[in-house]
């Protein structure tokens, strides 16, 4: 520990974060959302879409809601209907023909048992995928950290695949397929392989499958398991988390507040969805990546440094509560200080080292400069090099590799190749230089870290007083105001009844099997 932080202060920060999170966790425990319910159906084995491309899970959930309400969950009405009419989930049309009611007594028990069994099969697939990942990691080998994380974003899965494979061959350990700009606001998950996305490719079960298969292929070729990442975010967070588990994705962007702040999604909707998603991720052995880096694109990286730490502590708390282990908490932060200011690099080192020392067991995700990247690709290449250097000097776990063209376009093949040359040089040239990096006691590095930590404690203190929802409404994070009664997807939130039944949460909360 190079910063000599005061353990008492750290403990205090954690305690405050837990207190601030508690009411929100209670909210999440007592509510459900259309997407949570659709995720249950996906786990139970419902797949596919109707002729207009509306997924059956949406059709069914909407029908249930209309006819029986969602406060009891979809499981009971749906499986009751199956029982009554002797149907199976492979035949959604006939199911939709049926009328949905909430069973009681003996019929409720039968419905519950069948639902539980169906969902258990889905979870079994997730468990199997987790085991399969372990097998492949053992077989192909697990790259040592920092992992090199690269983005592909052509909008066309069939262009993404060769680019992802090329990136892997050039040294990428993790491939993220970013999503089409609009997807996070879609209240359904598109179906099938897609070729038309804007600035990203749609997250679909089939696209997940295709890319994972392509990466398994290169993993074998390279003798190094290449991880796949996508975004459990937006209105379908729970379903995408589920699909990630079903298709053996390895990491997922998943934040407790990103959707609220950057997609104007309703806060309560988001908090309910993220809890379920994280329970699934926990079970799937997926590493989540949180999105604190984004705050620094709308707020100033120096002024708002403490909001990043506060948010990480909240994400940690929500994650633990949902069953995630420390090794699954890829807390995010970023190298976003204005390069024009004095000591910018030293301040970055202070921030990065602070995060490292606060979360020693978390696979930290360090994001490259974006906000201050301009059309000057040479300046960009330089800034990315110093990001790489900061990452290596402070022992970050996952490095998202910056592109010199960040200020211009989504990455080109050659941008990615040059970016990899950049980080390869830095890692090779610098070696164990961190040995020689010893922040001077009382020096700028140490003092800055101390200051940010104490500002964090003060902030969390205030949050506890006013409540987290109020703090969000006041624009505490990313200087963006998001009141709890506004935002997209609020109508998809439903308060649970006493009889609410969700076989998935039930199974996930009881039979936790986490490393």
């Amino acid at each position: 520990m190079k910063l000599g932080l005061d353990p008492a202060v750290i403990a205090k920060a954690r305690a405050l974060a837990a207190r601030a999170a508690e009411p929100v966790i209670e909210l999440a425990r007592t509510h459900t959302t259309v997407s949570v319910e659709r995720a249950v159906l996906r786990l139970a084995g419902v797949t596919g879409a109707d002729a207009d491309g509306t997924p059956w899970v949406n059709r069914i959930t909407d029908a249930v809601r209309e006819q029986a309400g969602l406060e009891n969950g979809v499981a009971l009405p749906v499986f009751h209907a199956l029982n009554e009419h002797g149907l199976s989930l492979d035949d959604p049309l006939s199911l939709l023909a049926a009328r949905f009611t909430v069973p009681d007594g003996e019929r409720a028990v039968r419905a519950r048992t069948r639902a539980r069994a169906a969902v258990a099969r889905g979870i079994a697939t997730i468990d199997h995928n987790r085991a399969e990942r372990q097998r492949l990691l053992a077989k192909h080998g697990d790259p040592e950290m920092p992992w090199i994380y690269l983005i592909v974003a052509t909008g066309d899965i069939y262009e993404d695949i060769p680019q992802a494979q090329a990136a892997a061959r050039e040294g990428a350990d993790v491939i993220a397929v970013i999503r089409s700009t609009g997807q996070s606001l879609l209240d359904y998950v598109p179906e099938g392989a897609t070729r038309q996305g804007y600035a990203g490719t749609y997250a679909t079960q089939e696209n997940f499958r295709l890319m994972r298969a392509a990466l398994d292929e290169v993993s074998a070729e390279l003798g190094r398991y290449v991880r796949l990442t996508n975004y459990a975010s937006g209105l379908c967070m729970p379903e995408i988390a589920t699909l990630a588990g079903l298709e053996r994705l390895d990491m997922m962007l998943n934040d407790c507040m990103y959707g609220i702040i950057f997609r104007d999604i309703n806060p309560i909707r988001t908090f309910v969805d993220q809890r379920f998603s994280r329970q699934v991720h926990a079970r799937a052995g997926i590493v989540i990546n949180t999105g604190e880096d984004n705050y620094l694109t709308t707020a100033d990286a120096v002024d708002a440094a403490h909001t990043v730490i506060a948010s990480q502590l909240l994400n940690e708390r929500f994650g633990h509560e949902a069953g995630l282990a420390d090794w699954q908490l890829g807390l995010g932060h970023a190298f976003e200080i204005n390069p024009e200011i004095p000591d910018s690099f030293r301040l970055e080192l202070a921030h990065a080292l602070l995060v490292r020392e606060l979360f020693p067991d978390a696979p930290l995700k360090y994001m490259p400069p974006t906000k201050h990247m301009t059309g000057n690709i040479f300046a960009g290449y330089l800034l990315d090099a110093f990001f790489n250097l900061a990452g290596v000097l402070t022992g970050q776990s996952i490095l998202l590799i910056g592109m010199m063209t960040e200020g211009i376009h989504t990455p080109w093949l050659s941008d990615r190749d040059l970016a990899l040359e950049n980080v390869r040089y830095v890692r090779r040239a610098v070696g164990a230089l961190h040995e020689d990096f010893v922040p001077a006691a009382g020096g700028l590095t140490v003092e800055r870290a101390r200051q940010v930590l104490s500002e964090t404690v003060d902030l969390l203190d205030r949050v506890c007083d006013t409540s987290l929802l109020t703090a969000i409404a006041q624009g505490t994070f990313g200087v963006t105001r998001r009141p709890p009664d506004r935002g997209k997807g609020l109508d998809g939130v439903v308060q649970q009844s006493g009889a609410y039944y969700n076989p998935a949460t039930h199974l996930l909360e009881t039979t936790e099997e986490n490393a």
Partner: protein, 261 residues
């Protein structure tokens, strides 16, 4: 300095280290495996772009199917610098918030209504917020700070129809739209769609401020198109400041007004 340069330098060439040497740098990827043939293809392309001689100084295989090239060379192209009619810079004076407020108050005799949004699936609000929010940009306060301007900032990912509806509802004098995502021409596509919707919604309009709101679009990568292409009244690019926008709005909607020094 500028002026005599303009008059002297009628015709110019790129400059490496000697006047008139015409030197430029180019880089690109070709979807072919690296090898002598690929390098020949690279020089062929460079010559096609007018580089002669063209020297392929770097060639790197990116996997089995692609090669990255860096080429230096001399281009013959001449630029008739004097002949370029400078793209109209600012065709109006910059005003202080005080002057803007005065203009609106004196002439309109009511607050001027502005509606702003990121349309389509674009969620990049930093740019439009920089123009609208009190906080502003580059040390200048945003339009919300102007007493006589009433700002409705609808935020991100606003549907065009919703935008039009809102503009009508509040009787907008100007509509400010931001487009940052340009992949697959999204910004151009969305802007045209928006302009079209306003034309349909105001069939009798003869122009910006004449029967329909002034349509202003902004974003960092609009330098390849003209307002006419898009069907809007004005485009603002990277580095725009709120005062430039306010000044333009007054100029466009209250042309008769003269700021008295």
């Amino acid at each position: 300095m500028t002026t005599d340069l303009d008059t002297i330098k009628q015709v110019i060439r790129p400059y490496g280290d000697t006047t008139g040497d015409g030197m430029v740098q180019v880089s690109f990827t070709l979807p072919v495996p690296h090898g002598p043939r690929a390098e020949a293809a690279a020089s062929q392309l460079a010559r096609g772009m007018g580089l002669d001689p063209a020297s392929v100084v770097h060639a790197k295989a990116m996997g089995p199917d692609f090669t990255f090239f860096i080429v230096y060379g001399r281009v013959g192209h001449l630029i008739d610098y004097a002949g370029i009619d400078v793209p109209e810079g600012r065709e109006y004076p910059l005003l202080t918030p005080k002057q803007v407020n005065l203009a609106i108050k004196t002439v309109l005799q009511r607050r001027l209504v502005v509606v702003g949004a990121c349309i389509g699936t674009d969620a990049h609000t930093v740019g439009i917020d920089a123009i609208l929010n009190v906080k502003g940009f580059a040390g200048e306060k945003g339009l919300e700070y102007y007493r006589e301007i009433e700002v409705h900032n609808l935020g991100a990912q606003v549907e065009v129809d919703a935008l039009v509806a809102h503009a009508k509802a509040v009787n907008a004098d100007a509509v400010l739209v931001s487009q940052v995502v340009t992949q697959k021409g999204a910004h151009v596509h969305n802007t045209k769609q928006m302009a079209g919707a306003f034309t349909d919604a105001y069939p009798t309009a003869v122009g910006g401020g004449l029967g329909r709101p002034l349509l202003i679009v902004g974003g960092p990568r609009f330098d390849t198109v003209t307002p006419a292409d898009l069907g809007v009244d004005r485009i603002f690019g990277k580095g725009t400041t709120p005062a430039e926008v306010a000044g333009y709005i007054v100029h466009a909607l209250i042309p008769e007004w003269e700021p008295d020094e």
